[in-house]
């Protein structure tokens, strides 16, 4: 379908509107009204001649006519809806569609007038007007785009833009950000989303997704404000509660003492991402029997926001006929129980409260803190179920119980009796997109409170940076927590704008990862990764190259974003540098050796292996999940991987595929920023025999894989999910020599730092060390021991005897060390 833009007819409305609300009309109106008033006042109090009457009537009639014309001009053209909607465009069966028919008054006004045939000159002028108009202010301000530069950019990059092209772009943007009609925001988005503008947009660190979001934000903002001004709308007029709603229901003096509506935050009022949940809640509560809901969600996910929305809807009569006018009581059981004293007293308190609510008949009880009455003791649980059951099965009291996911999964899910009465409404942590939207809608209010400006890039950085960390706190709370802290930091600095740097500084302080640096110097580090790693490691070129290759591929955004950064299997004999590679990788990629966590998989062989990794009812905290939760940006080293039970291998299938794991308490843990390295000694013999002098024969990798599969050490589907299987060749004497020198150098660094002395590294010394420290079966570890037993011991002796002075280079002849060597 072709799209054209012909606004000649509709532009007449704009002209009429401007004419009838222009300054002269306003001035005339004011003057006439005042004059008429004066006339009538004089008539009443001073002169009452016919001329006065005549003047008064004349002025009144003129003022009346003027007012009528002004009201017509001010209200008709702006509020008259366009003749077509966006839906009409998509359903139209004609060849050509004039999008001006579906454009709002603002868009027609923003693009300005054009002649009989809209041509290039009109387009340029129209676009310039649009960008400079007030309609573009919000989006450009939020995206921190300089409007003059945008005009210059599109004039350079889109010199051949035509009206049909532009119109099609507007329709396309509107399909991405649906709204009833086409608005100036859509038009602005169409310019910025044009393929030719991609390079310009990218150069200011924005993507198409960001532009689309900004268009959405602009529309929400504008129409939200417009809705607030429409006092005549049914929804505004009917937002008053009625009198005497509870006159026909019982008193509840006891419960009233403990019941209150929990206070909300500025972001509790946004329901984005949870809209259907309130409807689910209401539909269940309106049932005649079993009308109770278990609202499951972690603190911070927005449970109180949902309760407050329920409260609003019930109070203002737009919930459900059976629920309208009910009273919503929020009760914290902990408080109730605290008043009760003894256990018997507590039960009677709960019982009294429930009885009272049942007699009243119009109560919706929201109960928080259930864990305080569902004791760990099985007996206690049974008793309380007896008390609660009669109430839960009738419709006299409708109950909403708020609980956390941990409580639900670990305790309530298995309690069959209670479960029977409740419909479960889950509130999972919001996804990052919904969180970004909520933040966007809440930001104007936050800006007013904090007197800071918060541009789009800042909230984008906030959501990106907090997505993978602190999984125990759900979105949106996690994002808002960080935002609050960042705002405080910025206020202390007395800046006016909250920048992404504030966010990144805060996050790196909390997680130890310098996020900002990770992004910018990451490329440099990736390209030099091989060299950096070779500084610490000897040999294993094949291994290092394979790892670096996979990582570069991963980070150049060629990889799927739903997997860990990399997953590798290191095979080879002991002591040849598998762990060293992991440590080096952690330092080179994440900035420090500390960003490596290690699990010995031989500990996870038994039937309870999986539950010790991800937790269970008895043991809520799993080792794996707590490690990755605390260190989301890490190298995860899984030693002796083949020794773990098959169920554990199954678990890791999910990690490699989806990059995340759900623990026993229902929380999600992200592995998207981790590099997983599994090590194994499997096939060590085969490797030793096959690889001589570091030369890898052809077809070696395939043979090795076959060996592993044939011995059933790892399942095929698991083996295939590793980005690469890397074999570590045994160390030759030359390697050991180099390693010996490396170890001596690091020993010297330590000695220099602590005592100011060094050991002179001679060829004889190194040869001696190799002679006593080389054992191909055990890799480089014997060398470590050899150095400890001989050199370190000798040096220690000399230090203690006071034979050393700072600045000295100690000479240790091999002959003197020979007696110390253990054979």
């Amino acid at each position: 379908m072709n799209f054209v833009y012909d606004s000649r007819i509709r532009y007449q409305d704009v002209v009429s509107h401007r004419l009838l609300t222009s300054a002269p009309v306003k001035i005339t109106l004011t003057v006439l009204l005042l004059a008429a008033l004066l006339g009538w006042l004089s008539l009443l109090f001073f002169v009452s001649t016919n001329i006065m009457y005549g003047l008064a009537f004349l002025l009144t009639s003129l003022a009346g006519a003027n007012l009528l014309i002004f009201t017509f001009g001010a209200t008709y053209f702006k509020y008259l809806p366009p003749s077509k909607t966006l839906v009409d465009i998509s359903q139209s069966k004609t060849d050509q569609f004039n999008i001006a028919d579906a454009a709002t008054f603002e868009l027609i006004s923003a693009l300005g007038r054009h002649g009989r045939q809209p041509n290039k000159k009109h387009l340029d002028r129209g676009l310039r007007r649009l960008i400079k108009s007030k309609y573009s202010r919000f989006i450009t301000r939020r995206l921190e785009i300089d409007r003059q530069k945008l005009i210059a950019a599109f004039e350079t990059v889109l010199p051949d833009l035509t009206w049909p092209d532009f119109s099609a772009g507007i329709v396309k943007t509107a399909s991405l950000v649906p709204h009833r009609y086409l608005t100036p925001d859509h038009a602005l988005g169409a310019i910025m989303l044009h393929p030719a503008m991609q390079a310009v947009i990218r150069s200011i660190d924005l993507t198409d997704k960001d532009i689309t979001f900004a268009v959405w934000w602009g529309i929400e903002q504008r129409f939200g404000q417009q809705q607030k001004r429409r006092w005549w709308d049914a929804s505004r007029l009917l937002s008053f509660s009625g009198v005497g709603l509870s006159w026909a229901s019982g008193y509840t003096p006891f419960v009233d003492k403990f019941a209150r509506l929990p206070p909300g935050n500025i972001w509790d009022d946004q329901l984005l991402g949870h809209e259907t949940k309130v409807d689910e809640l209401i539909n269940t509560l309106a049932r005649q029997r079993q009308s109770n809901v278990l609202l499951v969600g972690d603190p911070g996910v927005g449970r109180i926001g949902i309760i407050r929305e329920l409260y609003r809807r019930v109070k203002f009569n737009y919930a459900h006929p059976d629920l309208n006018g009910h009273r919503l009581l929020y009760i914290n059981l902990g408080e109730l129980m605290a008043q009760g004293g003894t256990s018997a007293g507590q039960y009677s308190f709960v019982s009294q409260a429930l009885h009272e609510m049942e007699r009243a008949g119009n109560i919706i009880a929201v109960i928080d803190g259930l864990s305080s009455i569902l004791g760990r003791n099985k007996e206690q649980r049974v008793n309380l179920t007896d008390i609660l059951s009669p109430f839960l099965s009738s419709a006299a009291v409708r109950v909403v119980v708020i609980t956390s996911t941990e409580e639900y999964h670990l305790r309530l899910k298995t309690n069959q009796e209670l479960n029977h009465y409740f419909e479960v409404v889950m509130l999972p942590s919001l996804d990052p997109d919904a969180t970004l939207q909520r933040l966007a809608l809440t930001v104007p209010g936050i800006e007013k409170q904090s007197r800071l400006t918060i541009p789009y890039k800042t909230i984008r950085a906030l959501v990106r940076g907090t997505t993978s960390i602190l999984p125990q706190i759900p979105f949106p709370e996690r994002a808002f927590d960080f935002l609050e802290e960042a705002i405080v930091a910025a206020q202390q600095e007395k800046t006016a704008v909250l920048t992404p740097t504030h966010i990144q500084t805060l996050i790196s302080r909390k997680t130890g990862i310098n996020l900002g640096e990770l992004a910018s110097s990451e490329k440099a580090r990736l390209l030099n990764l091989e060299d950096i790693m070779h500084l610490r490691m000897v040999n294993q070129n094949h291994a290092i190259r394979a790892v670096v290759k996979a990582l570069v591929r991963a980070r150049a955004e060629v990889r799927s974003p739903k997997r860990p950064i990399g997953a590798f299997l290191f095979l080879g004999p002991t002591g040849v540098g598998k762990t060293e590679t992991a440590k080096t990788l952690a330092e080179a990629y994440f900035g420090s050796e500390d960003h490596m966590v290690r699990l010995d998989m031989s500990e996870f062989q038994g039937p309870d292996a999986v539950s010790s990794l991800i937790g269970s009812a008895d043991r809520p905290v799993g080792r794996l999940t707590s490690l990755i939760g605390d260190h989301p940006y890490t190298v995860l080293l899984l030693d002796e991987f083949e020794k773990a039970s098959p169920q554990v291998h199954q678990l890791f299938l999910q990690v490699f595929d989806e990059g995340r794991l759900t623990d026993a308490a229902g929380r999600n843990y992200s592995f998207l920023h981790s590099i997983i390295i599994a090590t194994s000694n499997a096939g060590a013999e085969f490797i030793r025999r096959a690889i001589k002098d570091g030369q890898v024969p052809d077809g070696f990798d395939a043979q090795l894989k076959d060996l592993i599969l044939s011995k059933n050490l790892l399942r095929p589907e698991l083996l295939n999910r590793f980005d690469d299987v890397i074999t570590y060749s045994p160390l030759t004497p030359e390697h050991i020599t180099a390693i010996a020198r490396l170890m001596l150098r690091s020993l010297n660094k330590r000695l220099d730092a602590r005592h100011g002395i060094t050991v002179k590294i001679t060829d004889e010394l190194v040869e001696f060390l190799v002679s006593i420290g080389y054992n191909p079966e055990f890799g480089a570890r014997p060398m470590n021991r050899a150095i400890q037993d001989t050199i370190e011991y000798s040096v220690a002796q000399q230090i203690i005897s006071g034979l050393t002075t700072p600045g000295q280079a100690i000479i240790l002849p091999p002959a003197s060390l020979e007696p110390l060597a253990k054979k």
Partner: protein, 123 residues
Amino acid sequence: MIAQYFHWQFVYAPRWLLELMLNLQRASLQIFSLKLMLTTLIAPWHRDKLSWQGGTPTQFAMTIAWNLISRGIGLIIRTGVIIIWLILEAILIPISILTLLLFLLWPFLSLILFAVSFGFLLS
């Protein structure tokens, strides 16, 4: 523009006014909870009722008396609310109708005033 003006004067704006009046009526019904008042007109006040569980005739009489009083309180208060609503409606409805009429007749009234003014000025 003239055609648009007439559309606004006799179709668009009166329709808006009617909608507004209807919404105001709905709002008044909601604020005074009229439906609830009528359906629970003689319900016991805050469900404060006694149920008779056997005893002397005197107790029986007292139970009945108490229940009647409870319903009576409810009746009086609710009737009061209904009366207030009726008074409000008695004011609101005429004002609404008058506003609508005035608006429809506004251009004519202006013309009439204009003519009358000349009458006075020339006399």
